[in-house]
Symmetry: C2
Subunit: 390 residues, 2 copies
C-alpha cells in the first residue's frame, strides 16, 4: 500500500422519501440557496416539488437555475455564479445527476473566487480556497459526485472537457432517495452502471503494481454488485431495493475509498471518453462502454496479471487455462454484460466515423498534458487504444 | 436497505513512518495535548520517542498519561480528565490500541462535561455535547476506534463494561503507521484479527432480514481479507505489506461503512464478551474467539440462510449439500481459522469454569438492558449461547 490521506467529510442521508425532507439539512446552515437542475426531468418526476416544498417549509429562499445538460458547460456555471452573487445566495443545492452536481460545485467555488475565474482552476492556473456550502440530492446512480470533491466541466468555446477537485467542494450533506431514480429511463440507468463500474476499474487497473488486498477486495465486490444491480434495475425499474443498492454502490465507487492507498494512478478511459463527449456530445456512460473492452485488450498487453485477476474475481472466469485464455474470456464476458444492458461496447456503436479517431486522440492528448498523463498516454498511444476499441 | 445516516469526518493518514510526523496534525489546532498510552510497549518499541519528538518539533506541549490497561477502566479516565483540566490541555492524543484510544475519547469528552460525569453517558443518563479535539496513532490493528465515535470503558467498582458513542468523539486525524505494529506479539496480532472480523460479523448477521447486497459484499470481502492478512502477519510479522493491509482492513471494519443501511442490529457477541472480560479480564479478542463458534451454532437455529451465505461467500464452502451440511462446514472452517491463528475457539479454552456461566449471563443481561437488547437477549438466551460455546 502507498501513503494516503483519506478525508471524506460529506454526510450521507439515505432513505426513501428523504428528498421531501431536504430543507432540514440547509436549515441553520444557510438562509438561501441556488437550486441547480437539469433539463426538466426533475420537474416531470415530481422531485422538484418535493425538494422545493421542503425548502419552503423551512423558510429557505431559493432561486432556480435550470437547463444543465449532460457534459455540463462552463457558460452555465458562469450564469449560476452571476445569480448567486446578484442574489447574495448562501448555498448551492443540486437536484439532478452528475452534470448538475458538478455544475453546482463549480458555482459554489466560483462564487467565492477572487482575482481568478473558475476555469483557471480546471487549467491548473488557480486554486479553490473556499466554496459556499453544497447540498446534493442526486436523481441518478452514476457519477458519485454526491460524495467526492471532483467536478468535470466542458468549456464549449475551446472544446475541452476538464476535471478538477478540492476539499472545499465536498457536499456538506447528500440525500440519497432511491425513489427519485425509479423514473430514470433504461439507457441512462445502464450508462450510470457503466460509469460507476469504470470509476472502480480505473484505480484497480491503473495504479502502480503494489500489494493492495483491501482495496482490491472492495473494488471487486463493488464492481460485481453494481453489475448485478444494474441488470436488476433494468429488469425491475421500480424496485427500490435494486435502485437503492445501485445508488449506494455508485456513491461508494468514487468516494475515494477504493483508490486510497493504490498509489498514483490514471483515469485513461475517462480521459479518452471526455475527449469523445467533448467533440460528439455522447452520454458519458455510453462513451465509456464503447471504449472499455478495447482499452482492456490494449491493457492486457501491459499488465496481464491484473486483467487475469479481474477476469477471475469479478467476471467469474474459471482460473484454469492460460493467462491469454482467461483474460480473453474475461473481456468477452464483460462485453457481454455491456450488450445485455444495452450500452455500446465498441466505438463504432456510437456512430463515430473511423476518420475521427485522430481528432479524438488530439483532444485527449491535450487533456493528458493537463492531467500530467502525457508521459504514459501520448497521442500515439491514445490512437492505438481508439483503434483497438473501434 | 434501511434508512441511514453516514457521516465519518475523521481524516486518515496512512503510511510507514508517518507517526514521526504526528505533530503536524495538531499544529494550528491545539497548542497542547494529553498523550495517552498503555503499559509500556509504546516506550519499548520506540513509538513514544517518534511521536513525542514530532510534538516537540512543532512546539506542542504535552503531559503523559500512562498505564491504560486492556479493558480500560473508569478510574484512569477520571485521572486523565483531572490532568487535562489542571493543565488546561487543549487536545488528547492516543498512542496505543483500542483501550488507549477509548480512554482518550472518554477523557476528551469528560473534560468538557458540565453537571454530569462521563459514566452517566455510558449509563444513558447524560449526553456528550462537546469534546476536545482527539488525535490517534494506533499501535494495534483491531478495534477500529481510530475511525469511529465509539468507546468502551469498564467501571471497576460496579464491574460493568459498557459502550457508548457520539459524533463528538470521532478523532480529527488518525495516523496509521504500520511500522508501529510490527512489534505486536503473535497472540495480540491474532486477537486483533478476531476483533476486526467480529466487528464485520455482528451487523452482517444481526440486522433485520433486508436486501443489503452492497453491505454484504463489503463485509464479506473485508472478512476474507482480514482473515488472510492475520495469517500472513503471523507468518511474516515484520512485513509492512501485511501489517498495513491488516491495519487498514481493521479500521474499515468498524468505521460505520458496512453497517450503514442494514437497519437496527445488535452486537450480541461483543455484549457477552464484555461481560466475560469485565469479570475475568481476558483479552477482548480471545473472549470473542471463545464465543464465536458457539454463538454461530446458536444463531444457525435462528437465521440459517445468513450462516449459509457466510459459509459459502466467506469461508469458501462449496454450495452443494444441505443447509445443515454447508453451515456445519462453515463453522468448522471458521473454528479451524481460530485454531490456526492460536486463539481460543471455545469458552473452556479461557480456563473459565462451567459454574461461572450463570455469573456471566447475569452480568451480560444487565448490559443488554442498557443496550436495549434485553427483549432479544434475556439472561436465559445468553446462558444458552454460553453453554453452546463452552
Amino acid at each position: 500500500m502507498e501513503r494516503f490521506e483519506f478525508h471524506n467529510p460529506t454526510k450521507i442521508v439515505y432513505g426513501t422519501l428523504e428528498a421531501s425532507k431536504m430543507g432540514q439539512w440547509l436549515n441553520g446552515v444557510a438562509k438561501s440557496c441556488l437550486l441547480v437542475m437539469g433539463k426538466g426531468s426533475a420537474r416531470k418526476s415530481g422531485a422538484f416539488d418535493r425538494v422545493a416544498g421542503s425548502l419552503k417549509e423551512y423558510g429557505i429562499e431559493f432561486k432556480v437555475l435550470e437547463g444543465v445538460k449532460s457534459n455540463p458547460v462552463l457558460s452555465k456555471v458562469e450564469e449560476g455564479i452571476e445569480v448567486v452573487k446578484r442574489g447574495h445566495l448562501e448555498s448551492v443545492l443540486a437536484l439532478g445527476g452528475g452534470s448538475v452536481m458538478d455544475t453546482a460545485k463549480a458555482i459554489a467555488a466560483g462564487a467565492l473566487m477572487e482575482g481568478a475565474n473558475i476555469w483557471d482552476v480546471f487549467l491548473g492556473k488557480a486554486e479553490i480556497k473556499a466554496a459556499l456550502p453544497i447540498f446534493t440530492c442526486p436523481t441518478l446512480a452514476a457519477s458519485g459526485s454526491e460524495m467526492n470533491g471532483y467536478m468535470v466541466i466542458t468549456n464549449e468555446e475551446t472544446g475541452h472537457k476538464l476535471a478538477t477537485g478540492s476539499i472545499h467542494v465536498y457536499p456538506s450533506v447528500s440525500v440519497l432517495d432511491p425513489e427519485l431514480t425509479v423514473t430514470v429511463p433504461k439507457d441512462y440507468t445502464a450508462y450510470g452502471g457503466v460509469d460507476a463500474v469504470c470509476h472502480l476499474m480505473e484505480p484497480y487497473f491503473n495504479g502502480p503494481a503494489k500489494y493492495t488486498p483491501v482495496q482490491d477486495a472492495l473494488a471487486e465486490s463493488l464492481m460485481k454488485t453494481i453489475m448485478n444491480e444494474t441488470m436488476a434495475c433494468l429488469k425491475d425499474p421500480s424496485s427500490l431495493d435494486h435502485r437503492g443498492a445501485m445508488m449506494w454502490g455508485a456513491t461508494l465507487a468514487l468516494n475515494g475509498l477504493t483508490k486510497a492507498g493504490v498509489g498514483e494512478h490514471h483515469f485513461p478511459v475517462h480521459l479518452i471518453e471526455h475527449a469523445i463527449s467533448a467533440i460528439f456530445d455522447v452520454p458519458h456512460g455510453a462513451g465509456l462502454g464503447a471504449l472499455l473492452p478495447g482499452w482492456m485488450r490494449f491493457f492486457a498487453t501491459k499488465r496481464p496479471e491484473r486483467l487475469r485477476k479481474f477476469a477471475i474475481q469479478v467476471m467469474g472466469v474459471h482460473p484454469h487455462g492460460s493467462d491469454e485464455e482467461v483474460i480473453q474470456e474475461g473481456i468477452i464476458t464483460f462485453s457481454g454484460w455491456l450488450e445485455k444492458i444495452g450500452t455500446p461496447s465498441r466505438l463504432k456503436d456510437l456512430g463515430i466515423g473511423k476518420d475521427s479517431l485522430s481528432d479524438i486522440a488530439h483532444n485527449a492528448s491535450f487533456q493528458a498534458s493537463i492531467w500530467g498523463m502525457d508521459g504514459v498516454y501520448s497521442g500515439d498511444v491514445i490512437h492505438t487504444v481508439l483503434t483497438m476499441a473501434y
